[in-house]
Symmetry: C2
Subunit: 376 residues, 2 copies
């Protein structure tokens, strides 16, 4: 088998060997003490990454499953205001439509959220607010704390998708008043794809919907987690839990603050390279919105063909992401999540520069050296 390409995507991301090796074990009984301890380890470390003291559960399903669990368990039949400035905000709106009366509060992808429009919806009776903290489709980081304050002012539940920020950027769920918060395993946590986690505040529990789904019924998760031996209500994806536990141990060893500082430095290095070449970062930031610290979205310069550009990069063993939906061919995205370090970033930037030049672009300056200045 050929070597796997280096994935510099906004997830999935390369996993440390320890994480991968944790999966090869023989099957264990998921109703036993050993599995219970694995689950408890995950919960302990994840609570720290969420910045929460609330109950937290690990779901055998992707981040989308956890997003749906949030809305389906606490928003059934409610009016839900969905903040959107990218693909995942839109997805949250679609999920909300399946379970309640969804109100889209949208801005162009990668532009600041319309918080005035949100307040209007809240004043008009929205009982739940959904936010994507770090919108990978556009490389923008949204002001969770402000959204939380607005939600609390109108006594609405605040659902926060922290899928691509938690474990790589600062998240303070409790301080921000985020009632229900979710993360995915294959992003900043650097674990395999297939798991998600969700935290639930007391305030949310008090508003638990009568009508709930079965597989994603968080009341069942709560009951099973509180059992003498901690467990999940239905069969969990055991190898993925073993890997997630290992990924959590790595986070504890690195220290959360150090890990966040590393993610910030890595993203800054990519931004410095991009602007050093004379390219434009895609998102429009303001005092509330900043560039994502886990993925960098850059506008593709005029005349560069996306598939030729990324194909050339892939041929050299690296995968970066293009744009999604209407941004296809208009932006490229470099993920710097998880265990990513200087060598992968510098190799990626070198290849990106090479592909840009081969496609006819003339860099304004030496982006790779600009990145080295940040990383050094």
């Amino acid at each position: 088998m050929e070597k796997e390409p280096l994935l510099m995507l906004p997830g999935p991301v390369p996993m440390p060997e320890r994480v991968r090796m944790a999966m090869v074990r023989q099957a264990i009984n998921h109703r036993g003490a050993e599995f219970g301890a694995v689950y408890a380890d995950c919960v302990r470390v994840l609570k720290e990454t969420f910045g929460t003291k609330n109950e937290l559960f690990v779901i055998s399903g992707s981040g989308t499953a956890a997003m749906e669990a949030a809305v389906a368990n606490f928003g059934n039949g409610l009016t839900i205001a969905c903040l959107e400035n990218g693909k995942f905000g839109e997805r949250m709106f679609k999920i909300a439509q399946r379970h309640g009366t969804a109100k889209s509060v949208s801005s162009e992808w990668g532009t600041p959220l319309d918080l005035a429009a949100l307040e209007h919806e809240l004043a008009n009776g929205a009982e739940m607010v959904t936010l994507v903290h770090n919108e990978t489709s556009a490389g923008i980081r949204n002001p969770a704390e402000k959204v939380g304050r607005l939600a609390r002012k109108y006594d609405a539940l605040f659902v926060m998708d922290g899928i691509t920020s938690i474990g790589g950027d600062e998240v303070h769920a409790d301080a921000w008043g985020a009632d229900i918060v979710v993360v995915g395993s294959q992003k900043c946590l650097a674990a395999p794809a297939g798991l998600s986690a969700i935290s639930v505040s007391e305030r949310a529990w008090e508003r638990l919907s009568e009508k709930r789904p079965y597989y994603l019924d968080l009341a069942a998760y709560r009951k099973s987690a509180a059992a003498k031996v901690m467990e999940t209500p239905y069969t969990p994806a055991v190898p993925l839990f073993l890997a997630l536990r290992e990924a959590c141990m790595i986070i504890e060893e690195e220290g959360l603050n150090g890990r966040i500082a590393r993610h910030r430095k890595n993203a800054e290095a990519v931004r410095k390279a991009v602007t050093g070449w004379g390219l434009s970062l895609f998102p429009k930031t303001d005092s509330d919105h900043s560039y994502s610290n886990t993925v960098t979205a850059t506008s593709l310069p005029a005349g560069i063909d996306d598939s030729g550009f990324r194909g050339m990069i892939r041929k050299m063993g690296i995968e970066i992401a293009g744009g999604q939906d209407h941004l296809k061919g208009k932006i490229f995205r470099i993920g710097t999540m998880g265990a990513t370090s200087a060598p992968e970033i510098l190799a990626t930037l070198s290849v990106v520069e090479h592909a840009l030049v081969k496609q006819g672009f003339r860099p304004a300056g030496n982006g790779v050296q600009a990145a080295c200045e940040v990383l050094g």
Copy 2:
């Protein structure tokens, strides 16, 4: 780390080394050609094990997720007749209650289904029937073909839980008229826990519910599977797909018929041992119902303490299952699913006999030798 106990449970089951090793690979992009080919391999082999030419999808979620997908996508708001003679039949009823008007058609656990009562429900307008083909909680195999004929007679959709029969016993979804059929990964397929698969007939697609969940929306699965590169709508549990593909390759190499014959022989060996000792098999069979070919449920003789009995077995490195819910302390269950072969079965039976004797039971005859006669 101590050696893992030998799991002789009705799932999870020990996995062949090839299956476990398939998970250690570095992360791959689940939107690429390689993942598409992995998914396609799984679908090809699973269709054969289901006995279907219908579309089939792999879900990142346990068998319970697939059971809910069946009811939530095709039974929303319908009247659903749920056949029950064990825990999983009851679970199906609970799931049906969340999405439609569920009618329980129940018998005592481990006793024949009440097909006359089913026909009554169908004549009174039930539009969907749910059946657990192989009820592991009681060790009984239910008459799927007969249920399928009844469902068709009244033009109802037939949902079959084949979670613990498919890949280990004969299943002919299309010949039996089973419209929606599900399997779990950690049972007879001998793959890790965390995935399930679901097949859907044309007849079912024509009745797709308007209101559907999001993560388990099978219309989204259908669309993604039909893409140029086969994919899943949301991030799949990639390492589990890699393992499932390997498990499917092993099924192809063994040959489905040989695999089923092996499962039948293994279960027969356990039954011969149990009856040879003078114990009673738990289920009450008739001309329609037979003993499960993947798990054997035995009544615990009077005076034997379940936790002492199974604790002694666990101390010797083997885990067998007790009874669930009201059968706790009343039966024990030995799973013979997946890659199980003579050595594991004979070791298990030897230890079970030892524990029975230590608990004061006097075997009527040599059960282990009776099993050898079958396995030889």
